[in-house]
């Protein structure tokens, strides 16, 4: 499987490290910022291109991995699928469900695979929680709380800060928890979200959501872009009829340093205290599925469901009220 990486900014670097440690062959990397493309390509031993178009006309990759800003996803995924490539696109797939649906349809029509990087489906702590629930000994789930915070992302020309281009903290961060809820419990029925966007937090944003799932589960989601000292964490708590599962990455201290620093010891949701972290697990699975026509954990169709819920979350903010989700888009 020959791989082309599209977009060589900060999101791509996180992936590049995973490709590197998995020794997966990345043949080409493209970015309109030639220096960015060359730096990443050099790290991976790949060829650098200034655009997807140039990459496609000069190489014969089997799979594209889209790591560009969200607002460019739809165009790049479409071009990749039309060129007959399998596509892994970073989350969120798009900024609205209709566009997501068009991409899913296109992939299915062309018999190409489309996977979306809802990477927490590969994070062992989330995976373990889902598996505990499925074993049944804790009884049916009732109340779920999720929290997620990261340092305020900047990105190329500060695109994250333009909610029309990024969807703000809701599509950047909260969508991962929405995806986790959908993965575990099925579709949401209704959602109410409030956010501090536009209220003077200077780039930071904090959003709180109340969700009712169709299976009855009541959920609360918290997502933040913050610049405080403890900005990077994920947490969840799942109360069931016979118990509770809880996780808080801030309490997971497998290896700590004090007085000295080393880049190997990091703190944050994608814990590196694993032989393979979530990014690596995801890449390995997606590449394997693309090669063998298997089903990755988050297909385009899965991401479409999540996008539909994400769109409802944005609509709730815009309407300042509760949004009842329509029937699933099919």
């Amino acid at each position: 499987m020959q791989i082309g990486l599209i977009g060589c900014g900060s999101a791509a670097w996180a992936q590049a490290k995973a490709y590197h440690s998995l020794q997966l062959p990345v043949a080409a990397a493209a970015d309109p910022d030639e220096k960015a493309a060359q730096d990443l390509a050099a790290y991976l031993g790949a060829d650098a291109y200034p655009s997807l178009e140039k990459l496609l006309s000069s190489t014969d990759v089997d799979m594209l991995h889209i790591c560009a800003p969200t607002s460019l996803h739809a165009k790049l995924v479409r071009e990749g699928l039309e060129a007959g490539k399998h596509v892994l696109c970073e989350a969120p797939l798009t900024l609205d469900a209709e566009t997501a649906k068009a991409l899913v349809d296109l992939a299915e029509k062309g018999k190409r695979q489309l996977a979306v990087g809802h990477v927490f489906r590969y994070a062992p702590e989330y995976e373990a929680a889902k598996s505990q629930l499925e074993q049944g000994h804790l009884g049916s789930p009732a109340v779920v709380r999720t929290s997620r915070s990261r340092r305020t992302p900047i990105g190329w020309q500060r695109w994250y800060q333009d909610a029309r281009l990024s969807g703000g903290v809701i599509l950047d961060s909260m969508l991962h928890d929405l995806d986790f809820l959908i993965w575990c419990f099925g579709q949401p029925k209704r959602i109410l979200v409030k956010t501090t966007r536009g209220r003077g937090l200077q780039g930071m944003e904090h959003a709180l959501a109340t969700v009712r799932m169709k299976n009855g589960v009541i959920a609360h989601m918290e997502a933040g872009w913050s610049n405080t000292s403890n900005a990077d964490y994920t947490a969840f708590e799942i109360s069931t009829r016979s118990g509770m599962i809880s996780h808080d990455s801030r309490e997971v201290k497998g290896l700590e340093l004090d007085g000295v620093q080393n880049p190997l010891v990091t703190h944050g949701p994608a814990s590196d205290l694993l032989v393979q972290n979530a990014y690596e697990r995801q890449l390995q699975d997606v590449v394997r599925c693309f090669a063998a026509n298997g089903k990755p954990r988050c297909t385009g169709r899965d991401a479409l469901q999540t996008m539909q819920a994400g769109e409802a979350a944005l609509a709730s903010v815009a309407a300042n009220s509760v949004i009842h989700l329509a029937q699933e888009v099919t």
Binding site: R190, K194, T196, G200, L208, S239, R241
Partner: protein
């Protein structure tokens, strides 16, 4: 010496308040009235005071009473106390209906007796210090608040609607709402809530999720669920995360506790070493009575917290945000 009587020991907080009173030199525990004679007699024995099978004889001998009955009985006991000039410290929620709460406030006003509502979390030292810092405006403009007041399912009369007026939402909405109102002096404008029974086989709500909009554009969520399992090491929690334009604050009113692993009981539990918030509340109430001061936590505070809980039930039924009266 302030003479204090207990009106019903139905609510477990009564035992904590009584223990506090017993150790105080500025007050005497005059007696305990309880319609449940077994419970009343046992408590009287435990706290070395008199048991009263009738309310009036006890009221006649008291300056003030602490009412820890089932929620729906708060009104009748408060009215009885006010009528004979006894001051009242009433367990939360103030009542189970707005009408009852208003009647209680009116009766105490008319009789010229103090009515204070027991929201002891205001007296937790971390909460007191948070209030001081917030009054200094250290967080800038407050944008949003995430609150939880989880608990274990208390059982007993708490799951009998005619006595409690509601389940988890009635039980656990009022503390957090009271703290936010007290911190910022703002009222709730709209309430949205999901309320359901999903954790236990009880005929009353045991979980919920509230989303509120306050005056001035601030919003808050609050989780009042009885979602702490039997194996949880504590009864529950009171947590607040406050996001302002200049920074954020986390408050954990019950953080100061040891973790005790007890093989003999096969149980892990938290053992508090914090200042006793119940004692600080009772001391404050005694000073209100002694010095003829205004209560810090008024009947109106109790009413507004109750209105929030009632609005949550209304919102859940309507499936939409509802206005909260003031």
């Amino acid at each position: 010496m302030v003479r204090i009587g207990f009106v019903s020991m139905a609510h477990m907080h009564a035992f904590s308040y009584a223990a506090v009173l017993q150790s105080m030199s500025s007050a005497t525990l005059t007696g305990i009235y309880d319609p449940d004679s077994e419970r009343g007699q046992q408590a009287a024995e435990q706290f070395q005071t008199e048991y009263h099978a009738e309310l009036e004889p006890l009221l006649e001998r008291c300056d003030a009473v602490i009412i820890c009955s089932e929620n729906s009985l708060h009104k009748q006991y408060t009215l009885a106390a006010a009528e004979v000039g006894c001051h009242v410290l009433c367990e939360k929620p103030i009542a189970t209906t707005e009408e009852d709460a208003l009647e209680m406030i009116h009766a105490c006003d008319t009789a010229g007796v103090k009515l204070e509502i027991a929201f002891p979390c205001r007296f937790a030292t971390p909460v007191q210090q948070a209030k001081q810092l917030l009054d200094q405006g250290i967080l800038g403009e407050i944008l949003c608040i995430k609150g939880t007041n989880h608990g274990q399912m208390p059982g007993g009369w708490f799951t009998d609607r005619s006595l409690s007026g509601g389940g988890a939402v009635m039980d656990h909405t009022v503390h957090v709402v009271d703290l936010i109102r007290w911190f910022f002096g703002r009222e709730i404008k709209t309430m949205y809530a999901e309320v359901d029974t999903m954790l236990y086989d009880v005929d009353i709500d045991d979980c919920g999720m509230l989303s509120m909009e306050f005056e001035g554009g601030m919003f808050a969520t609050q989780d009042p669920s009885w979602s702490r399992p039997r194996t949880f090491p504590a009864w529950g929690d009171v947590l607040l995360e406050i996001i302002g334009t200049k920074g954020t604050m986390q408050i954990d009113a019950f953080a100061q506790a040891l973790t005790v692993y007890d093989d003999s009981e096969k149980h892990v539990s938290h053992h508090s070493w914090a200042d006793n918030m119940d004692a600080l509340l009772v001391e404050h109430f005694l000073s209100v009575v002694r010095e003829d001061k205004d209560p810090m936590i008024t009947g109106y505070d109790g009413l507004q917290a109750l209105r929030a809980a009632l609005a949550a039930y209304r919102s859940s039924e309507e499936g939409a945000p509802v206005p909260v009266r003031r």
